[in-house]
């Protein structure tokens, strides 16, 4: 019943929007990505490139000069904060710092005035939304009941290497009786321990991805509300929970989490997308080890399953917008030499194999690209004895370690991150022969070390910040909006 009402709501919104878009073409570009995938930097670079005229040879409309101008316009939703583009670009160029991780949702509207290939003047509106990547993990919860979610979370937490991290929470869980009476204090403790466990999993050395519910990690303005005070229980019995039991309480709160948090989030920002770019930080997972990579694969599978993809038709545009182009982007491609980019793309292709097949079957176009929205390194060949290593040169951020060296954030270094295999299956074999990451070994022993690098030094001009260097951002733009600017 809920589902039906939701669908009717979405259809009405779509109908209302359709008439507006008829006269004022709009693309809702979904920038999707788990936390630390680089959504904020991507949006900043994209907006900067469009409005200030970046160096985009592959983006046809801009390279041939058909875009007259692009500017920021007031966003459509008054209740959502504005994406703080000016601050972010300033931090990148002046302080040479990456933006902090996003804590709340924000929005930006870019209007592109262009001349179509046959000569008529047009405008295209681009709505872009930025949000904490953790929240994305909530979307799969829409189709799961409390019992399903609890058993799945428990199963995951008992696997390697999570079991070790979840020890405290498991101890506490063993003392709880799901059929016992409601107890606010027990619920608080359970939620706190569960949240701690999720937070540890997210740390750099483990880099786990599948950590719902997202608001536990990034609560926004809902911190300490009952909607965020629940945790999975070890349920043995089937059927409805006894009334006023701990189980019933947890279940009720899970349901309100879904209705208060997840559903509006989905409805407002994901249900009506036209184009989607999925940013994936595969390198962080490879840093951490095979378990993180498996986890990333599962998370991507679940998240991508929530989106409505397929060919755009009149009926779909009227009632239920579909995403007709998906770009899967392996971000931070500047952390490795360009000769390895193809391998990175193959790895991403392997990670998203099922979701891609499903989208293509429905008629959506899917492309895979290794990109860096802001390129922070340049390339070099290092000769050591008879070895030739293709490296990247950049300034690693303070605290990064590799092969026993720790960096202070000022020293420039040539980094060779380790050879990626041609066949991605080599990374995904779960046996003894698989590679070692930071989750199981020290930074000296790890098989791959992709270091985070500070933003590149840029000279400020009178007009502000010059064009940012990038890798394949123009190709991404061409795929995502190029056809609508034809």
């Amino acid at each position: 019943m809920d589902e039906l009402i939701e669908q009717i709501r979405l259809a009405t919104a779509a109908l209302a929007e359709f008439s507006v878009h008829l006269f004022n073409p709009t693309i809702r570009l979904g920038v999707t990505g788990l936390s630390h995938a680089g959504k904020t930097v991507f949006i900043t670079a994209l907006v900067h490139g469009l409005t200030r005229g970046g160096r985009f040879p592959v983006f046809e409309a801009m390279a041939t000069g058909r875009i007259a101008r692009a500017y920021l316009a007031p966003q459509p939703d008054d209740a959502v904060p504005r994406f703080d583009y000016e601050n972010y670009i300033n931090a990148l160029a002046v302080k040479r710092q990456w933006p902090d991780s996003t804590r709340q949702i924000s929005e930006l509207r870019v209007v592109v005035e262009y001349q179509s290939a046959n000569g008529s003047q047009r405008t295209l509106t681009l709505d872009i939304v930025d949000y904490p990547g953790e929240w994305l993990l909530d979307l799969p919860l829409l189709t799961k009941s409390y019992e399903e979610w609890a058993s799945e979370s428990l199963r995951l937490s008992r696997q390697r290497p999570r079991a070790e991290l979840a020890k405290d929470w498991h101890h506490h869980l063993a003392t709880l009786d799901p059929n016992g009476g409601e107890n606010e204090q027990e619920a608080l403790t359970a939620a706190r321990l569960f949240t701690d466990y999720l937070k540890v999993c997210r740390e750099k050395n483990y880099a786990m991805s599948l950590l719902p519910p997202g608001r536990f990690l990034m609560p926004g303005d809902l911190a300490n509300t009952p909607a965020l005070t629940f945790a999975p229980l070890d349920l043995s019995s089937e059927g409805p929970p006894p009334s006023s039991s701990l189980w019933a309480m947890m279940r009720r709160r899970y349901e309100s989490y879904r209705t208060v948090v997840v559903r509006p989030f989905f409805r407002d920002h994901f249900a009506r997308l036209d184009r989607q770019i999925v940013l994936v930080d595969a390198l962080a997972a490879i840093n951490a080890g095979p378990d993180a990579l498996f986890d990333l694969q599962r998370a991507l599978e679940q998240v991508l399953g929530c989106f409505h993809t397929g060919r755009r038709t009149l009926l779909s545009a009227l009632l239920r917008p579909r995403i007709d182009r998906i770009l899967l982007a392996a971000t931070k491609a500047d952390h490795l030499h360009h000769t390895s980019h193809d391998r990175l793309e193959t790895i991403l292709k392997r990670l998203t194999k099922d979701a891609t097949a499903k989208a293509e079957l429905a008629g959506a176009q899917v492309d895979i690209v290794a990109l860096a929205a802001v390129r922070a390194t340049h390339e070099a060949v290092v000769r050591r004895g008879r070895q030739q290593l293709p490296c990247v040169i950049g300034v690693p951020v303070a605290g990064e370690t590799i092969a026993g060296e720790t960096f202070d954030g000022e020293t420039e270094a040539a980094i060779f991150p380790g050879d990626l295999p041609d066949d991605p299956e080599e990374l995904l074999r779960g046996d003894k022969k698989s590679f070692r990451g930071l989750a199981t070994t020290s930074s000296r022993e790890a098989d791959f070390r992709f270091l985070r690098v500070r933003p590149p030094p840029l000279e400020l001009t009178d007009n502000g910040v010059p064009a940012l260097p990038h890798i394949r951002l123009d190709r991404a733009l061409q795929f995502l909006i190029g056809d609508r600017l034809a």
Binding site: E60, R383, E412, I415, G418, P421
Partner: protein, 359 residues
């Protein structure tokens, strides 16, 4: 632990370390006392660029024909040589001065023949290389190979080096050679930068020729002059298009080029899918009802336009990927528009183009 793929462990080199030499120049003088050398890559020049020979063409049966013509040509050359030697010897016996003059003339003739042969061969090779380039560009759109695409773009830049109107496009393209751009994108970029001005000019040439043919054949009373004029302007058109796209084929190459165009026209059957030829024909049928001469003229113009488009397909060093292929319909619209005031408008259009293209 051994890896199943070739894996080198991660490494880092601080650029402020004494053991690390950041230098691109002192490559030869590096001894073993400086164990680590960092060579920044400004360009892709460091990469070895390999070019595969494309597979042998299917025209194997032509070998016997070639052999025959070569042998025959050799025989004729020998015969001429014997005659000339006889003549010179004869003349020398009669009169020393005359003999010397004949010898000088013979040497001059041989030398110029060699030069002509070299230029013809060069023309033929240019034609062949253009065919090869187009094939490679089409392959690269599929294979998306970065290194190959760069090699291809270098060759295109070499081919178009002498075209002043492409100076800006070339400069832009050269500035992007060092960027990280994938193969297919690079080919599209090159097509956009290098082919756009040429395509525009080619369109003007074809539609001008079609207009000329339409007008002349509509006004001209003699059928034989029609035929000659159509033929001449078609050949002239092919020649101009070839020079426009930088082929410069030479006489033999020109013959081969015309043959290629005719074959291409025959293979596509004069029917591109984007063209609604029947509609065109019908339109001209109506024109013919109004005036037999007018209809005839338009039909001739239409055929010339088709011929010109086939020639573009054969001569253009890149396939149409990023840019739209010109269609007969577009061109004929231009022809019809230009029909009223003849060539004046066409000229002014060409002049406008020339003005707009000055960077």
């Amino acid at each position: 632990m051994t890896k199943t793929w070739r894996h080198r462990p991660p490494a880092v080199f601080r650029l402020d370390d004494d053991h690390v030499v950041v230098d691109a120049v002192k490559e030869t003088g590096v001894s073993s006392r400086q164990p680590v050398q960092v060579k920044p890559e400004a360009e892709f020049d460091t990469l070895a660029i390999t070019v595969d020979e494309p597979g042998r063409s299917s025209r194997r049966s032509a070998h016997w024909g070639t052999l025959f013509w070569c042998a025959l040509g050799g025989l004729i050359l020998l015969a001429v040589g014997v005659r000339v030697t006889d003549l010179i010897v004869d003349l020398l016996a009669r009169n020393k001065e005359l003999g010397g003059l004949a010898l000088a003339l013979a040497i001059l003739a041989t030398f110029s023949l060699v030069v002509i042969a070299i230029r013809e061969t060069a023309g033929l090779m240019r034609l062949a290389s253009v065919e090869k380039l187009r094939q490679r560009a089409a392959d690269m759109i599929v294979s998306d190979d970065r290194v190959e695409a760069r090699a291809l773009v270098q060759e295109l830049l070499r081919l178009t080096r002498r075209m002043p109107r492409l100076a800006r496009g070339r400069a832009k393209l050269e500035s992007h050679l060092a960027d990280i751009i994938d193969g297919a994108d690079m080919v599209r970029l090159a097509e956009r930068e290098l082919m756009t001005p040429l395509d525009q000019q080619a369109r003007t040439l074809v539609s001008a020729a079609a207009t000329r043919v339409s007008v002349v054949t509509a006004l001209n009373p003699r059928a034989i002059i029609d035929v000659l004029f159509v033929l001449a302007s078609a050949l002239f058109l092919v020649r101009r298009l070839a020079f426009l796209y930088g082929v410069r084929p030479g006489t033999l190459g020109f013959g081969r080029l015309v043959r290629l165009v005719v074959v291409h026209l025959a293979m596509t059957g004069g029917l591109a899918t984007s063209d609604n030829l029947i509609q065109q024909m019908l339109g001209h049928g109506i024109a013919a009802k109004l005036s037999a001469r007018l209809g005839e003229g338009l039909l001739n113009g239409l055929l010339t336009a088709r011929f010109g488009l086939a020639a573009i397909d054969v001569i253009r060093p890149m396939p149409f990927v990023a840019l739209p292929r010109p269609t007969v319909r577009d061109l004929m619209n231009e022809v019809l528009r230009g029909f009223g005031d003849g060539e004046d408008r066409q000229r002014s259009a060409e002049a406008n183009l020339a003005i707009t293209e000055v960077p």
